[in-house]
């Protein structure tokens, strides 16, 4: 079965991003397919490479990065939600004349159309809310 995941909860003030992580991992372990993971709203902060939690606490960015790289996942961060919140990759930082960038592959910045497409393609679209 083909799944897509929509994450909407805050990256650091809700359980949402981690619940979605565990679910995604379980989908893959069950032999199903993940078409796309879409980070929206406050969850886009999970894409920040500058997040530096204490060593003995959860590093949600690293978890997603590792999972995405291991399974070649398409993890998309909503570009409008991200730019507004100061989450951008090198290309967007250049475009907006910012001195630095804070996200990179495997996180991809793209539009809400990717969510619509995921809704069409996938058998299940599962939301992890705020």
């Amino acid at each position: 079965m083909i799944f897509s995941i929509l994450i909407y909860g805050s990256a650091h003030n809700s359980q949402s991003v981690h619940s979605a992580y565990r679910f995604t991992d379980s989908v893959l372990r069950s032999g199903h397919q993940i078409h796309r993971v879409f980070f929206y709203g406050e969850s886009v902060h999970a894409a920040s490479i500058l997040s530096a939690p204490p060593r003995d606490e959860l590093n949600i960015h690293q978890l997603w990065k590792d999972l995405a790289e291991t399974h070649q996942l398409d993890i998309v961060v909503c570009i409008a939600a991200a730019l507004k919140r100061g989450v951008m990759n090198e290309a967007e930082a250049r475009r907006h004349e910012k001195a630095s960038f804070n996200t990179q592959a495997p996180f991809e910045l793209s539009g809400l159309g990717q969510l619509s497409e995921a809704a069409i393609i996938s058998d299940r679209l599962v939301t992890f809310g705020a």
Partner: protein, 111 residues
């Protein structure tokens, strides 16, 4: 971002050529942006630009293709309210190019 001088006024454009400040728009600005888009502005273009500016005024949104076609249909009639007609005027993408020439933000739906 880059600055261009149009009629002795400095206008800021983003790297895709959209106005940074929507209030900077004027007909000479639209003419300048049309040259950058390699579009020869005719009356047919101007009436679409007016439709899309009115759309933004009313709804605070840069329209996607479908609502743009609807708005053109309701103001200029069925003959012009067709995507083929709009594609002839704005060959790259009517929603994006017309928004650019009209001084509107890029339609977020296109991102």
């Amino acid at each position: 971002m880059r600055q261009v001088i149009i009629n002795n006024t400095s206008i800021a454009l983003d790297d895709e050529g959209y106005l940074l400040h929507l209030g900077d728009w004027s007909t000479p600005v639209a003419e300048y942006l049309a040259i950058e888009e390699k579009i020869q502005l005719t009356d047919a273009h101007w009436e679409i630009i007016e439709v899309i500016r009115n759309f933004y005024q009313q709804y605070e949104l840069s329209p996607a293709m479908r609502p743009l076609v609807k708005a053109v249909t309701s103001t200029l009639g069925k003959e012009k309210g067709k995507s083929i007609y709009l594609m002839k005027l704005f060959p790259e993408s009517p929603a994006k190019q017309a928004a650019k020439l009209a001084g509107l933000p890029k339609p977020t739906n296109c991102l």
